[in-house]
């Protein structure tokens, strides 16, 4: 069980949106994390330092939250190593092949009313729901 947190989730979501809006207004770029991360891989272009800085900001975020609130950021990550390796590969491969992930398609793309992003978001939501159902209620049940 995890606690239902509508207000914190809404505020957190709004901050994600604010970051996406500012990146577009200031630099004209889509805040898609898979796009930013995958373009750090060779060949390296002139946006390398900016993209790396964005990722460094992401990595620093939980420490900033801990510094402000004085409380540790808690999370539960599966310790099934083969599963997490497979999951990571599928997430990386699928996001780049499909041209985006939860942020690029799910937030920025939907907000631009992109048909591609609507199709991608519906598709990955559907396969994610089915995957969890199979893992928890077919195999695990």
């Amino acid at each position: 069980m995890t606690e239902f947190t509508p207000l914190a989730s809404l505020i957190g979501g709004a901050l994600i949106g604010l970051s996406a809006v500012l990146l577009m207004a200031l630099e004209g770029r889509i805040a898609g994390i898979s796009g930013i991360a995958s373009r750090l891989l060779p060949p390296i272009d002139e946006r390398f330092a900016a993209r790396l800085a964005f990722i460094v900001g992401l990595v620093a975020a939980p420490f900033a939250v801990e510094a402000v609130t004085g409380e540790p950021v808690l999370q539960t990550v599966s310790s099934n190593i083969p599963l997490m390796i497979a999951a990571g590969f599928l997430v990386g491969f699928g996001a780049v092949l499909g041209g985006g992930c939860t942020s690029g398609h799910g937030v920025c793309g939907l907000s631009r009313l992109s048909v591609r992003s609507f199709v991608a978001t519906l598709t990955f939501m559907a396969t994610a729901f089915v995957t969890v159902f199979i893992v928890r209620h077919v195999i695990g049940g």
Binding site: A14, L15, L23, A25, A61, G88, V119
Partner: protein
């Protein structure tokens, strides 16, 4: 200048992920578990993010260019093709297995759980492989 902007916006994005709960794979997996311990919080993350972005983009696009660049860099592709659907489908399977998508995975690196520390390199390898694969198709 661009480095400072991106650092701060990455931090803002990451703080949003932490506060929203989306940085926690257990919460993501419970959102995806409609038939079990369903936690609807993530719908509020998506909702908050999309509403702000939808309105904010409209304000941003009133100008004919961003503040610090000559033009907006928007995706040129418009057609729904097999690559889009296949990629999204695989992405969703991986998301459902691990509870991480790329943003939360980077946010979680410093918390150094073993599952995260193998997920991120595997994700980068997957990204690299997909770029190779897509180049072959093209």
């Amino acid at each position: 200048m661009s480095v400072v902007i991106n650092l701060l916006l990455g931090l803002l994005f990451g703080v949003g992920l932490v506060i929203s709960g989306m940085g926690n794979p257990a919460k993501v997996l419970n959102f995806l578990d409609l038939a079990g311990t369903w936690d609807p919080s993530l719908a509020f993350v998506m909702g908050g993010a999309v509403v702000v972005t939808f309105v904010g983009y409209r304000l941003a696009f009133r100008r004919d260019r961003p503040l610090f660049d000559a033009a907006f860099h928007l995706p040129a592709k418009k057609d729904v093709d097999r690559q889009l659907v296949t990629g999204a489908a695989l992405f969703g399977i991986g998301w459902g297995l691990g509870g991480f998508c790329p943003g939360p995975a980077f946010v979680a690196i410093g918390l150094a759980q073993p599952g995260t520390l193998v997920f991120v390199p595997a994700m980068l390898l997957g990204m690299w492989a997909a770029r190779r694969f897509a180049q072959k198709l093209a």
